[in-house]
Amino acid sequence: MPVPQPLPPEALYKTCDPQQFAFASTAEVEDGHQIIGQDRAVASIQFGIGIQREGYNLYALGSHGTGKYTAVHQFLAQKAAAESPPSDWCYVHNFEQAHKSHALRLPAGMATELRDDMQKLVEELVTILPAAFTSEEYQAQKKVLEEEYKSQQTQALEKLRSQARLNNIALIQTPGGFAFAPLKEGEVVSPDEFLQLSREEQTKIEAQVEDLQETLQDIMRQVPQWQRTAQRRLKEMNREVAGFAIMPLLNELRQKYAELENVQAYFSAVQRDIIENFDIFLEEEKTTMAAMMGMAAAQQESSLRRYQVNVLVDHRTTAGAPIVFEAQPRYQNLVGRVEHISQMGALMTDFTLIKPGALHRANGGYLVLEARSLLMQPYAWDGLKHALRAGQINIESLGQVYSLVSTVSLEPEPIPLDVKVIMLGERLLYYLLCHYEPDFPELFKVAADFEDDMERSDASNQAYAQLIATLVRKEKMRHFDRAAVARVIEHSSRQAGDAEKLSIHMQSISDLLREADYWAVENNHEVVTVVDVQRALDAQIYRASRIRDRIQESILRDTILIDTEGEMLGQINGLAVYQTGQFAFAKPSRITARVRMGKGEVIDIERQVEMGGPIHSKGVMILAGFLGARYAAERPFPLSATLVFEQSYAGVDGDSASSAELYALLSVLAQAPLKQSLAVTGSVNQHGQVQAIGGVNEKIEGFFDVCNARGLTGAQGVLIPQANVKNLMLRQEVVDAVRDGRFHVYPVAHVDEGIELLTGVAAGALDADGNYPPESINGRVVAWLTQTAEEQRKFAAPPRESDAESRKEESRDKPDA
């Protein structure tokens, strides 16, 4: 198997040639889309916004900062502008059931007019109605009624009185009513005098009094009847007067809103109510205690509140369909709420205290929400879901729903809901919702899946340049010259971790542009140059790299033991990637392997102490599988091997070290020392093929930095999987070192290639007899295994489990990764 050649410098970094751009700076580039490379998501958005069916709400999924909001908003703005504004909505008093406030739908802009008209009506009635009821005509009519009632009584009484007087009997008034008593000389007869009368006279008088008493009883029984009649007639008259007084005003209103049936019905209810309760407009006449305390006015005001119109949604100034972005999608912010006011210490409410939610404001248009914010708010998703399912907005406070509070509450009439909801969020949330919320896929049928990167080509370079120009103009930054644009594109490729891709993570692009602009200002550059972009990138790294630098310092001071020269048996430099916030870096890690007589197992110490993750364990088992299949298919494997990441105190995961671990084991088994000037990354499969890993650029740079600090010897380099070559976007410093032959990057496809690079000894292929050449690595391994098996057979007892393997004391003074 030929030994892989180091990669040429061109393979390590795919430059972006500034000459391909026809412009000198982005000032010459016209604005383009702010969204590039998102064809799939854009098509989904267009479809999701366009289709007018129930449940076709949209979920835009993608990493944070991929420009989901910008994309969604751009298409929404286009679509909404072509649509007409939806209806206004207001709540009015329900005169039949006060707690079930009526909702009124009005053409856009009419709600505030209705509110003002009703306000004016009440103001006018406050003067018109009292005037009607204090008019001389009314007072005269009222007096006639009262007189009629009084005279009915007095006439009957007077008639009886005179009838009694004929018999010399007086009608006298007693504490609780009336009584008849016989008279003598104009005064009531005293009991003594009465007794002196003859028996016949007494009987006669008694009979007469009895008669009169009965007649009076009849009259008295009629009094309440008369009273009721009089009251009824007064009430009727009042109604007539009130009705007559308000008629012209209401007719005027009716004409204005002639085409709106619901408003006509409301006016009728208002008319009936005013006629029934005209006296609340006359309050000022009252001189009660309340009036003295200045409460009468407040009371009248609160009675008149019922004629107010609570404008919930006002589209007077809205052009097109509304687009509402609710940044705080709390339950109440979505479905609206009913507020309370304190009155004499009690919490009261009415329809004027109904407040709209985002669903009200977006009704007839579009509501944009962030999935994470929505799901973080208790009950907010439930509220949204129920509104969407029911197709109406029902304002219920959470306290009401869960019976937590029992103040006076309202049940406002639900408002029909016609809204398209666009949720923006991470992919994970989308998949979790799909999995755990059966209603979610029904309500959000369209997913717009945003890409993180796009193909790198000449066309996309041009598009990228246009994007930069657009962002520069939008954010009022200095323009970028073509070299600066090219550098941004190169960085974008590094960001994507792929020389053939460009990152379209809008947020980091914008951040880089802003920071480069800042440095251009600092450097007094009229136009942002490549120097400024590089400065911005270096500054970003410098700000984030404290931990990386401390770790490297530990290596250079030999606190963390890493050899970069010489050869060692069963010891190899692996590479591990660390992520601190947004910043990723790698450091070399010493991996060692030891073997002893055993029953054929590979012990992963990381796993034994539960510091290794499942993927790491899997990698170790795979390499054990490879070893077993290659060397112990037809003979015993009389060894126990131990593998460890030295000086690792925080656990490892991932399988990118499995090839390194395998090399370490082979080195022990073949007794072939490994070159410490090389570091290794790559996972391995059971056939010994080296497979792609992540973070290849960081890993190479991580080892380079250590070697560079100690001084490059020209022998140093990194073995990477062949499949990762396309991902290479290395730092300029590394590329330069490679160009000068001071550092090397080897693409490796199979462990046999790798072991030869590391040991300088060929791996060795099977000959026709099925044997490996004895001097090859494989041959030495087989020989060693055979010899060990022989020795093992000499022992009668099975090999003793040894605990003499010294355990390394954990030291606490090492920096955490």
Binding site: I172, G176, G177, A179, L216, Q217, M220
Partner: protein, 290 residues
């Protein structure tokens, strides 16, 4: 007769009234309370003494003593037996209430006052007591429930038979409104003018309705009035009364924004029928001066 009265006025001293004791008829009704308040205010102005009188109606007690007489309850039509002890208790309670009202009203103004209870026919007792007082104040109406009239029977009797001036009050009238005097030149009218002007002092303005046969007399009356009221600080406004037809007069007065009406009746050249109508048809408080 008119001319005689006029000469009389010009040559004689002004006819004044001396009011030292004011008798208030109390029956615990709202109108009598109004009368009490008016009387108390008057007593304060005139530095007079207040005498409250509650009459236990003998007719009620007698009727209660008749076994066959029952009470028909108002608006219910029920019958209820009445007896003397209960009636007496009821009257005592009313008297106690009346006394409380009086003492409260008088003490607030720091007036001298006395209270007494009499038993007998109401009008007779009242008239008898009025003989010892300089002014009788009472409500236009008593505690009648069938109130169709503006003038009750007791008030009517008092106006007809009392020897001295009578003040008829009703509830709900603002006495701080200007005082109105009908002036026709007779001595009673001169007394009425003086009382009226005195009572008008707190308000500061006095309306006089002058009634005279001719312009010259009217002019004369006016200058007489000015002279008579020279030492009373009050703004006087005049109005000539042309028509003494009762309905017209009632209308004129009821439209004149008047608190208290003062009229002199004895030997008034105005027809008795006119005065009677004014008393019965007007709903304002009236002070009848003799």
């Amino acid at each position: 007769m008119l001319k005689a009265a006029k000469r009389n006025l010009v040559t004689n001293q002004m006819h004044k009234l001396t009011i030292r004791r004011i008798l208030v008829a109390l029956d615990a009704s709202t109108h009598s309370l109004a009368a009490l308040e008016a009387a108390a205010n008057m007593a304060l102005l005139l530095k007079a003494e207040l005498v409250g009188l509650f009459v236990e109606d003998i007719n009620l007690l007698r009727a209660a003593g008749l076994p066959f007489v029952q009470e028909i309850r108002y608006a219910l039509g029920e019958r209820r037996a009445i007896d003397v002890p209960r009636m007496e208790a009821y009257l005592r309670a009313q008297a106690a209430q009346a006394q409380r009202d009086l003492s409260e009203m008088a003490e607030r103004r720091q007036l001298r006052y006395s209270f007494r209870v009499a038993r007998g026919p109401v009008s007779a007792e009242l008239l008898a007591a009025a003989l010892e007082a300089d002014l009788l104040a009472l409500g236009r109406l008593g505690r009648s429930l069938a109130q169709s009239e503006l003038l009750g029977s007791t008030a009517r009797t008092a106006v007809a038979h009392a020897k001295g001036p009578v003040l008829l009050m009703r509830a709900g009238v603002d006495l701080s409104q200007p005082v109105l005097v009908i002036y026709d030149g007779c001595p009673a009218a001169q007394r009425a003018l003086w009382v009226g002007a005195t009572l008008a002092q707190p308000n500061g303005s006095l309306h006089v309705l002058v009634w005279a046969d001719d312009n010259e007399t009217a002019k004369q009356f006016k200058s007489d009035i000015v002279m008579q009221l020279a030492d009373i600080e009050v703004a006087i406004s005049y109005r000539r009364l042309h028509d003494i037809e009762p309905d017209k007069l009632v209308e004129t007065i009821s439209h004149s924004n008047t608190g208290l009406l003062v009229i002199g009746t004895t030997a008034s050249p105005l027809p008795p029928q006119t005065l009677q109508t004014v008393l019965e048809r007007l709903d304002t408080p009236v002070l009848v001066v003799r």
